[in-house]
Symmetry: C2
Subunit: 399 residues, 2 copies
């Protein structure tokens, strides 16, 4: 059995994801698809719309054979660390290939871009330092250094201003750091772009567009055409159980409570809280009328929306810099769910996996896993109705 | 102008309190009554029913001339520290006497009990140690040591098993530690006992009885006969604004969130969290169905209801052992409200006060005061409707 890996959030799983899964098999000749999926909190620093078990069910219903969890340490990190955690896990679980989405479906520009930076690392780092010294943000400095390199060594490179391209770049980088024992392929995205609103003539919408429709129109009917029927049913079930989808808007009273419970000094325990943002967080948490109002008050050129949301995720979960920095590389393969095929794959390949496979959390003591469990506990606290789904009592989903 | 002090929580202010204020004046010949009143969190480790400003208004309407705040450090402490903070403040604000309630209205048994322990301090301490070694709780050991002393030196002593007597005892102790520059008087309590339910034939009920009636019967009419009309109006206003009176029941989702956000190790930052209670707090916070259910699960002989509630107060407000232990003696007189007479008293006596008088919080930097401000912020978070009354924008109440 041959497995191809995909790196996903499935927030929620939609028709574009189903297409990606089919194409991943087709392009690589694999007969098993393994998704490494973010847990309760995502890379943009947000709670997932519905929890990891609902999202696992969506995936298993639409072509994915195994879902393993991308630990909190990586799922809420910046692109480089996120990609490193994800690709390392796909490698550990035995994938020989992984497939990621791109705008035009060509892999070469990604490889060339990575080679451009990798071969000129010293110059690149010097340029970044130079640009940071001018007072611009770190992401902006990276971007400028990259532009300068491209001018010196012309070629067909990818545009690293696009979030999906940044992720693709770091996937390649991670695969390279694993001695290329796992090979990338890329699949042309179809339909909507990353941030596009939904288009009623189409069957493909971005997850962002679908979430916006869910939050603003408040009815599931508006998104039915863009998602498989299982996704639709699971979203409906969630809505009936919890009344609302998870979001910062819903979690806001607790997020505010968490911020205000600390002194500014204590807030610097959390990653990236420095340079006075701790004072702004407290000041504006006190008088903001809503989460959006709060964000409008604290965001700046230096502290972008995503950067702030990642900070807020850690404050909300109570997971400190010290706890996060204690972990740099995945130490387990947490199984969230499997089809019958996925289960066969596991029984054949388990003995060759380079990390322990965890199906039952209660049997394991692991400080990185403890953060995933903590993230679930805190995610649950934000939900209006407290049906207790926790990492101890939910076994891997089977289909 | 001569001032008598009273130590109060006014949770809420009732007819028994009004009687105590009149008697305090009568017995001491004072023409000014100064109340040192707990802020948002109380000695039994609970949020006050209504905030400190509403309770100040109640007091000023019924015979109290000045209300000063008992800082959080003392208002949430055990009886000895609570009493020390309160009597020190009454002394600092210029009271020559203070009046406290007792069952039979005689001071001598209090003085004798204090003398019994004070003169036999070494024996008393040795007895306590001995009894603790048998495995009983600290309060129980105190009680037994006291009984043994009484057997050795017979006399007419107070019963230190009663909460109000314990407070009275520590008031005397505090006054003594201030070189008896402030003199105690005691006033017979009339009507209901500390924990008695309300009696519909009477006009006097305990604050505990009134709170129980408010929470269980949910209508203000049931308590109207026991409180002055201003109290009634203020309770009604509060109910209209906030929908609910503050209580652990109302604050429970946030309290649980606060507990679960920490590792067991982090919970030991908070006062009195040790000996494994940190694990029990997390375990039962996860699966308790309500605050009462939670308390039933964690309480024990060693961890009594009040002791646990004090722990929970600090976890809720986020105020750590380190922050509390940095403060042992009051460092300011925080004015919450005054009548015209109270104001005249202040202008005459201000220059002789031994601590700075604070009317406007924004003008002051004080780490003990910062905890009072923090307590208000966190108290507000638990309320369903967020009308912003904070220490920066509420000036002293005037009547």
């Amino acid at each position: 059995m041959q497995a191809v890996g995909v790196v996903v959030e499935y927030n929620p799983f939609h028709n574009g994801h189903a297409y990606h899964v089919q194409q991943a098999k087709k392009l690589t000749g694999a007969n098993i698809v393994i998704a490494v999926m973010s847990g309760q909190f995502l890379q943009r620093g947000e709670p997932a719309l519905v929890d990891k078990w609902s999202r696992t069910k969506m995936a298993l219903a639409s072509g994915v054979d195994l879902v393993i969890e991308l630990p909190y340490v990586f799922s809420t990190a910046h692109a480089k660390q996120f990609a490193y955690g994800a690709i390392s896990l796909l490698h550990a679980v035995g994938c020989k290939t992984f497939a990621f989405g791109s705008e035009d479906g060509r892999l070469q520009p990604f490889l060339d871009s990575f080679a451009l930076i990798d071969r000129n690392r010293a110059l690149y780092d010097a340029l970044i330092k130079e640009y940071i010294a001018t007072g611009i943000s770190y992401p902006k400095a990276l971007q400028q250094a990259y532009t300068t390199l491209q001018q010196q060594f012309p070629g067909a490179y990818i545009d690293l201003a696009k979030p999906n391209n940044i992720l693709g770049f770091h996937y390649i980088e991670a695969a390279y750091s694993l001695n290329a024992e796992i090979q990338p392929v890329t699949i042309t995205r179809i339909g909507a772009g990353y941030h596009d609103a939904i288009d009623e003539q189409s069957q493909i919408a971005s997850a962002t567009g679908i979430r916006q429709a869910l939050f603003h129109k408040q009815t599931l009917q508006h998104v039915a055409q863009f998602v498989p029927s299982t996704t639709y049913q699971l979203l409906e079930e969630w809505q009936q159980t919890y009344k609302a989808f998870a979001s910062w808007h819903a979690f806001w009273p607790f997020l505010r409570f968490a911020i205000l419970r600390h002194t500014p000094e204590q807030l610097t325990m959390f990653p990236d809280v420095a340079e006075g943002i701790e004072h702004a967080l407290i000041k504006h948490a006190k008088n903001a009328r809503s989460f959006d109002d709060f964000m409008e008050k604290i965001k700046s050129k230096r502290y972008t929306w995503t950067r702030l949301q990642r900070i807020l995720t850690h404050i909300y979960t109570g997971i400190t810099k010290e706890q996060l920095h204690a972990h740099v590389t995945p130490s387990y393969i947490r199984l969230l769910g499997m089809t019958e095929n996925g289960q066969r794959y596991l029984s054949i390949h388990k003995k060759h996996m380079t990390l322990p496979l965890i199906s039952r959390v209660a049997a394991v003591q692991n400080t990185m896993l403890a953060l995933d469990i903590q993230a679930t506990t805190m995610y649950q606290q934000g939900l209006p109705c407290q049906t207790i789904h926790d990492d101890y009592n939910v076994p891997p989903i089977r289909k």
